[in-house]
């Protein structure tokens, strides 16, 4: 990211329709209290049941509304920011055929259901940028004529499916860099929840690091949040205190990189290029770009050809530009590994043993990207995730 201060300013310039809408304001706009909401929801459910059903909108439309629900603030310089960039890219690509609105800071709770109910009643396509599980699927079931997309979700119905990024390969490549940059082999991971995402960050990273540094290990500290600079700072400090020389973080904000910069270790991340927050420490980032996917899905809804996919739709991820201080030999080693991965090398290739000593993949066995999407075990050498 070139401009560290670009959050906030863009929002005020948006049109009336996509005016920044907080969850509270959205709820207030219904003009009623809780009882009214329930009544409204029931009414809307009744209305939608009168419409022809059959999985997503079945007829072509000249223009559609797309509603986005974000787990964090659009100004987070991270996850939600990238989704909002994707939303804007979709608007640019489809022009007047699509209008979009978003609700930020939607908690994973019953309140989310109300937000989705609101979005579903005014949109043809609803996108949630994290897994809301039954808070989303319940609403989807009440709106069979609306298409639903759930990022990192695990529910597949006639009008709802999950999409996500394929991050086994990029983590493996970053692991190669980590193994070379951390001379001791100690890699720290600041994660959120003990979910498949955390396993798919740490396992391939260890495998990549071990190709260049047999002593490599990955220590994880999970802070049960994607946006908590206070805990992320403390976790990063604890990892560095324990000897970590390379920190990888999945946080939606860049505080870990500031700590890495201050304490003289390397830092790499998800989401977007955050080098301005730690130019010396910065290694690389997987760039999240959702615009093409959102455009494609919105176009399908417009054409009336949208159908829910039956397994997770994984988007490819790529590394960004290297940090200014990453040595050439590291960059070359990663490029060489990248060629191998593109040539068909699967990082999850047996023999692989988990932390309890159970052989998870026998010699020659592999785990496909879709299989890895629901992984729930750590490799020997990774601690702190399970």
């Amino acid at each position: 990211m070139e401009d560290g201060k670009r959050q906030g300013s863009g929002v005020s310039k948006q049109s009336l329709w996509e005016m920044r809408m907080t969850r509270r304001r959205l709820l207030r706009n219904t003009g009623v209290g809780a009882a009214g909401l329930f009544g409204g929801a029931a009414f809307l459910a009744a209305c939608s049941s009168n419409k022809p059903s059959g999985g997503g909108s079945s007829a072509a439309s000249s223009s559609i509304n797309v509603g986005f629900a974000y787990i964090g603030p659009v100004a987070d310089n991270g996850w939600t920011f990238t989704h909002d960039e994707g939303r804007k890219a979709m608007e640019t690509a489809l022009g007047s055929k699509v209008k979009s609105t978003f609700v930020e800071n939607v908690p994973i709770s019953a309140e989310a259901g109300q937000t989705f109910e609101q979005l579903a009643s005014t949109s043809e396509l609803v996108v949630a940028n994290t897994e809301y599980a039954n808070y989303l699927s319940d609403v989807a079931a009440n709106h069979p004529d609306v298409a639903f997309l759930e990022c990192d979700g695990h529910t597949y119905t006639d009008n709802l499916f999950a999409f996500y990024v394929e991050h086994v390969a990029p983590n493996y490549l970053l692991g190669v860099a980590a193994g070379m940059l951390a001379k001791s082999g100690k890699i720290g991971y600041v994660g959120a929840f003990p979910s498949a995402t955390a396993f798919n960050d740490t396992n391939p990273m260890l495998l990549g690091a071990r190709t260049v540094n047999p002593n490599a290990s990955v220590k994880a500290v999970l802070i049960n949040s994607f946006f908590d600079p206070q805990k992320a700072t403390a976790a990063t400090n604890a990892l560095i205190d324990g000897g970590a020389e390379f920190i990888f973080s999945v946080m939606d904000e860049p505080s870990f990189l500031q700590v890495a910069e201050k304490r003289g270790v390397w830092g790499a991340a998800w989401n977007l290029d955050i080098r301005t927050f730690g130019p010396t420490a910065y290694v690389n980032t997987y760039q999240l770009e959702w615009g093409d996917f959102y455009t494609e899905q919105a176009q399908k809804v417009l054409d009336g050809t949208w159908t829910a996919e039956k397994e997770v739709h994984l988007l490819p991820l790529s590394l960004g530009t290297w940090g200014d201080n990453v040595p050439k030999d590291v960059q070359d080693a990663v490029a060489a590994a990248k060629t191998k991965v593109e040539g068909g090398l699967n990082p999850y290739t047996g023999p692989l043993t988990d932390t309890k000593g159970v052989v998870r993949l026998k010699e020659g066995e592999t785990l496909s990207a879709v299989q890895a999407y629901t992984i729930d075990w750590s490799l020997q050498g990774v601690t702190g995730v399970a």
Binding site: G4, K5, Q7, G8, G72, P73, A75, D76, N77, G78, F81, N105, G188, P194, K219, A220, V221, L222, I223, N224, F227, D228, P229, Q230, K231, T233, A234, A235, N237, A238, L239, D241, G242, D252, E253, P254, S255, Q258, F277, T383, G384
Partner: protein, 313 residues
């Protein structure tokens, strides 16, 4: 640095917020006012520091602005409970809601970007060069030394070694007697409630200018409530309060060390640790007294949370 000394270093920083807010609450309670609004005051102090830091050139300006803003909210609270004599518990809870809500609203545009101007650590000459211990104890920002050393000493001297402090305590113990002795009860209460709130604001500002230089919603994260508990644990004494706060800080940093060292405790459980210890701090003295152990009688100021009506004297 040894991992436990490193943890101590984090604990000292983490505890500073509680020292500031706790000392503010201690002064407030010593004059007989219960200000439950710590959580909100920390939030206001923090958000003001973030905003002012972004629009000024010095962290000191941000720190004082944070104290000022929290002081203004404290003054409002004091006016309400001392002059208008509203219920202190309810008004305090209102301060929490106002402070947390307002700070979240004001801070919304600052999420995800670092605080502009922050405090740098100040090494204590000679002491900071002691191997291992030096970096853990003597390589902190100036605010940390002020909070752990200067503040408790000053408060203790004022409270227990000056006539003014005696008057102050008299207002908290027996406002009627203090009033009869010619002490301005209302004035004393308003003054120290405001000063107390400003100290809590300093805690919030510290949080943003030193501890985590990134704004996030609900910034106080329960530290305000912990500060209230630590005052009780400390039996309203400044010296003990410092240890209570440090213990709380230690629990926070231990939660992360435990994960890093792979002790096998789930991260959700570790998150509870500081609050469990806080609970224990409150329960243990009472439990010991219950079973016949001699504990320092932790008597609250007798006039605590009781509005003073001169007419009912």
């Amino acid at each position: 640095m040894n991992i436990f000394l490193a943890a101590l270093r984090t604990a000292i920083d983490a505890g500073t917020v509680v020292v500031c807010a706790g000392m503010g609450e201690l002064l407030t309670e010593r004059v007989g006012v219960l200000n439950l609004g710590q959580e909100g005051l920390i939030g206001i102090g923090a958000v003001t520091a973030v905003i002012v830091s972004a629009n000024s050139s010095s962290p000191w300006v941000a720190l004082f602005a944070g104290m000022l803003a929290a002081g203004v909210l404290g003054l409002l609270f004091a006016t309400s409970v001392v002059i208008v004599r509203t219920n202190q518990v309810l008004t305090g809870l209102a301060v929490v809601l106002i402070g947390v809500g307002l700070s979240n609203q004001l801070g919304n545009d600052y999420q995800g970007s670092p605080v502009a101007h922050t405090f740098a650590p100040l090494k204590v000459p000679i002491l900071a060069d002691i191997p291992q211990v030096g970096p853990a104890l003597f390589d902190h920002t100036l605010i940390v030394y002020l909070a752990y050393v200067v503040l408790p000493v000053v408060v203790a001297i004022v409270l227990f070694r000056t006539r003014h402090g005696m008057n102050l305590r008299a207002v908290g113990e027996n406002p009627a007697a203090a009033d009869a002795a010619g002490i301005n009860v209302a004035g004393m209460r308003v003054l120290y409630t405001t000063i107390g709130a400003a100290l809590s604001g300093a805690g919030g500002a510290f949080l943003m200018l030193v501890f985590t230089t990134n704004w996030s919603v609900n910034v106080a994260r329960g530290r305000g409530w912990v500060a209230l508990a630590v005052v009780i644990f400390a039996a309203w004494r400044p010296s003990l309060l410092v240890f209570g706060a440090l213990l709380f800080g230690a629990m926070i940093s231990l939660g992360f060390i435990a994960q890093e060292q792979n002790w096998g405790i789930p991260s959700f459980a570790l998150t509870m640790l500081p609050y469990l210890v806080t609970l224990a701090l409150i329960i243990i003295p009472s439990a010991l007294a219950r079973f016949g152990f001699k504990v320092r009688s932790s008597v609250a100021p007798a006039g605590l949370a009781v509005p003073y009506f001169r007419e009912e004297r």
